[in-house]
């Protein structure tokens, strides 16, 4: 065999490689169901349908918590003071630079809707706490401002915004 190593590839070489390749594809195809079964199942996805939230009972300065896809969603009815605090800071200098205007829907500046999960390691921040009058995470001390933007602590990003829209002046649909 060694004398033949420099010769043309034989039909047998081709068969070895082709068999090996088909076997690898087959093994990967067999492994996929075993891996994919761990992803969210059909009922979990179905239960993640959009939800409606009535904003009328939420007083100015109040933050309510609703659940969507097992995640807490903060709906904050901001006071003019809180809006002003969020807007007077030069947002270009923040750790995750975003303007307050880009985090609310135009014309609904008092309504801030956030996914209430600390972007560090997933704890739920506490409202109206910390040095920025926004949210404070009790786990590792991340502090968010009245726009839900990270201002200090280990969290890398601002509190994310869930997909939502206003269906009327006092109603939103999240999802």
């Amino acid at each position: 065999m060694t004398t033949m190593s420099s010769a043309e590839p034989t039909r047998r070489d081709f068969l070895y490689i082709a068999t090996g390749a088909v076997g690898a594809v087959g093994a990967a195809a067999a492994a996929w169901p075993l891996i994919d079964q761990m992803n969210p199942d059909a009922s979990t996805i179905a239960a993640g349908a959009p939800i409606e939230v009535d904003l009328a009972p939420i007083a100015a300065g109040q933050v309510i918590k609703v659940f969507w896809r097992g995640k807490p969603i903060f709906v904050s009815h901001r006071t003019p003071k809180e809006i002003e605090e969020a807007r007077k800071v030069d947002w270009h200098t923040l750790p995750d630079p975003q303007s307050d205007q880009s985090r609310v829907k135009g014309g609904h500046d008092q309504w801030l809707v956030l996914v209430g999960i600390c972007t560090h390691l997933g704890c739920i921040p506490l409202a109206h706490q910390g040095d920025y009058d926004g949210w404070f995470c009790p786990c590792h001390g991340s502090q968010y401002d009245t726009s839900g933007r990270i201002r200090r602590g280990p969290a890398p990003l601002n509190l994310p915004l869930p997909p939502y829209e206003f269906t009327s002046a006092t109603k939103i649909r999240i999802g």
Partner: protein
């Protein structure tokens, strides 16, 4: 292993058996006739203790599963019913929960013993790496077991630890969703953790078999770090090591029983007796004591991804110790400088554990950063440099000489 086999089957049945499956001979050569260095001290008994702890965890675990229900609505109450209704359920659960702590206590002593006496050095690198793998599997098994009672600490530990994976760029979030089986920690998460918590101890058992196999190929290290050279340097495993291990296991059980019967919840957190609530995070989240040094390292780094990388690196770096340590001398007994740095390293590790239990603010963070830096400097700078700079003390010619003194060992060898 078979090289030491002196097993002679006596009965007719054992002769018949030995010709077909020589298991009695294997046990005899591995745990009876197996030569152990005659100078082993009590720090060498923790391997035996760990084997016993693994068996206790498997036995109590299998029994607990007969009464536990892995469902978010039922898990907490099923654990409470184990505590209140099941005959001796309180005992089985406390033995299992405190057993985890004792398991880690023993493994930390076992690891520090290996670091002190240079047990990771050639030819024991593979033995050592298998040990690091067992330690990693223990961490995973311990974490998933802690989630099962589905109390507040269980739920938030699951949330925080799975979120570590979200630090991975690009694929982080899909991986976390895959781990959860949903959009947050929930019933699918609890179910798979239960499945894996049941599986992992048997995986550990398999790696332990490899660990013991590798040990019996290269032989045990000993307090002098000098390999046995003659028959005089060793004694048979039974009765010498079995009795010594047995005595130490009893001593260890006294401490274990003290926790089980008098302080069963001392090492746990009261918050875990509150059912899991996805709406409220406990005000002060800390992991179990045995993860605290690594938790302190995670929090010391002011970047999410960086913290996760350092956390993993802190464990992985152990596997590289055989190549980072450049000294040819194994035992710290003959390494005056290394011995001092070893104890500094012990203090740093315990200090990191203490800092991990403190809130991440002010001076605690600064201290954690200094100790984290030292942890890595120990492996990456001190271990390589010491081997080049340190002048070791003269090694004894043999184990017998170290034990008996030069004249006696010489006389015995002649006589």
């Amino acid at each position: 292993m078979s090289a030491h086999s002196t097993y002679q089957p006596q009965s007719k049945f054992m002769k018949w058996m030995e010709a077909r499956l020589p298991i009695a001979g294997l046990v005899h050569s591995s745990f009876v006739a197996y030569p152990t260095p005659r100078n082993l001290n009590y720090w060498w008994t923790f391997g035996g203790i760990l084997s016993v702890m693994l068996m206790i965890q498997i036995i109590t675990g299998v029994v607990l599963v007969m009464h536990y229900t892995p469902h978010v609505d039922l898990a907490f109450t099923s654990v409470e019913s184990i505590m209140r209704d099941v005959n001796y359920g309180w005992l089985l659960r406390y033995v299992h929960a405190n057993g985890a702590s004792m398991f880690f206590l023993a493994v930390y002593i076992h690891i520090f013993r290996g670091l002190y006496y240079g047990s990771y050095k050639e030819p024991r690198e593979v033995l050592w790496i298998l040990g690091v793998i067992i330690f990693l599997l223990m961490i995973a098994a311990g974490f998933m077991g802690y989630v099962l009672p589905w109390g507040q600490m269980s739920f938030w530990a699951a949330t925080v630890i799975t979120n570590l994976f979200s630090a991975i760029p690009v694929v982080g979030d899909p991986i976390v969703s895959w781990l959860w089986g949903g959009y947050s920690v929930g019933n699918p998460t609890l179910n798979r953790f239960f499945s894996l918590h049941y599986l992992l101890p048997f995986v550990i058992l398999g790696v332990v078999v490899l660990h013991v196999w590798a040990l019996h190929v290269v032989g045990q290290n000993n307090p002098t770090g000098v390999e046995p050279k003659s028959k005089q340097d060793t004694v048979p495993f039974t009765p010498y090591a079995t009795v010594k291990d047995g005595f130490m296991i009893v001593c260890f059980f006294i401490v274990y029983a003290w926790f089980v019967f008098y302080l069963p919840n001392y090492l746990g957190h009261p918050d875990n007796y509150i059912p899991a609530n996805p709406q409220v995070t406990p005000t002060h989240i800390v992991p179990e004591w045995y993860y605290l040094p690594f938790y302190a390292i995670l929090r010391a780094i002011p970047s999410k991804l960086g913290g996760v990388i350092m956390l993993v690196a802190a464990i992985a770096i152990l596997a590289f110790a055989p190549w980072l340590d450049t000294s040819k001398v194994r035992s710290a007994t003959y390494r005056p400088l290394y011995r001092q740095f070893f104890w500094i390293f012990v203090v740093v590790s315990v200090g990191l554990g203490w800092l991990g239990s403190k809130p991440a603010e002010g001076g605690y963070v600064i201290a954690a950063r200094i100790l984290t830096a030292w942890y890595f400097i120990h492996f990456l700078v001190i271990l390589p440099l010491l081997g080049l700079l340190e002048k070791p003390k003269p090694l004894p010619a043999s184990i017998s000489e170290a034990v008996l003194g030069k004249d006696k060992a010489g006389a015995k060898a002649r006589g």
